[in-house]
Amino acid sequence: MSDERATARPVSGWSLVASVLRWGTIVAVVAAGLGLAWALAGGASPQTDRSVLELIGDGGPDGLIAIGLLALTLVPIAALAAAAVVFAGAMERRSLLITLGVLLLLLVSLVAAALLGASG
């Protein structure tokens, strides 16, 4: 096993991906935090055994928390889309195809889970 020394230098080309990761996380966490603060301030009873879609549909503090949690799970998808943009711009075909494949897998798992949850 080699032990090559890593170089670490800022990479402007990846700033889009980094920004999506950063701001997506911030927005999602803030939404969940506001929902929690609302719940604690209002003393609303927690909603249990409810799917994320049901909680969002019900509204209220748990709905806002659910929006934040769902948004957080969408950040990796958004970051993959941003990576695809970077690879497309750099004409890195192999990396672009792999990225689109993983993106498709995640989208399928999201849709399948939503449909199965809605029917269950």
């Binding site: 096993m1 080699s2 032990d3 090559e4 020394r5 890593a6 670490a8 230098r9 800022p10 990479v11 080309g13 990846w14 980094a18 990761l21 950063r22 997506g24 996380t25 999602a28 966490v29 969940a32 929902g35 929690l36 604690l40 927690p46 909603q47 249990t48 409810r50 799917s51 994320v52 049901e54 909680l55 748990d62 928390i65 659910a66 949690l69 769902l70 957080l72 799970t73 969408l74 950040v75 990796p76 998808i77 970051a79 993959l80 990576a83 750099a90 890195e92 990396s95 792999i98 990225t99 993983v102 897998l105 995640l106 798992s109 399948a112 889970a113 939503a114 199965l116 949850g117 809605a118």
Partner: protein, 269 residues
Amino acid sequence: MPIELLLAASGLVAGIFGALLGLGGGILIVPILTLGFGVPLPAAVGTSLICVIATSTGAAAVNVRAGRADVRLGITLGAGTVVGALTGGMLAGFVPERIVAGLFAALLAYTALTMARGLVRRTAADPIAPVDPTAPDGPDAPAYRSRHVPAAVGGSFLAGNVSGLLGVGGGVVTVPLVHLVMGAPMRISVATSNYMIGITAAAGAYAYLFRGDIDARLAAPVVLGVAAGAAIGAAISGRIRTTWLIGLFVVVVAYVSVRMALLAAGAPS
């Protein structure tokens, strides 16, 4: 102390450890929730997966911008982890909780042993040549990126199954995979794993989210704590010696492994 503060503090510790060691923190969050707060295992696993995403995205934002993460490799191996997470998530619906707890205890024991062995063998790095994880594929690509790729993808599939079934990010598998099998430097392995585990955890989290397995009121403070911890961990990762941290982590994980094994055996934990 309000329970929300305790949950947030637990998340903070898990997030810091996770970001510093290339893990998602789930290895701590699941046992904390089950053993410390009495949360049912499915809810703990689902909450942990969401927290792993928070750890990953928070740390990855720093690592990607700083050029420490090999995004190309992370996405390639992510193909394996996503498929694995989907199959692991499907299995989770059929495997009894005590067996899941037993598997988790085994995972923790393996993690403790691996980390302890790494501590014993730890020597000063022998720099051979600088390597740039952000270099595109081609003649400038780092050598590790094309080393033992089929084995690495296969190992990623296993990591994904571990993630989907046990609610961890799979970093306990992917960090040694990238570092030992592919030969990437440790810092790149940790940063790349941090990037990957968010993709992995997302694949598994959707099922728990849409099934109603996750308690929003419980998950929120943990996620907040983890997000803060991950940001702190990523910010200080280049500045602290991880030897003592890994030693503490080994002790904690070994103890939790015993507690989870007792839970699996049905004994008072």
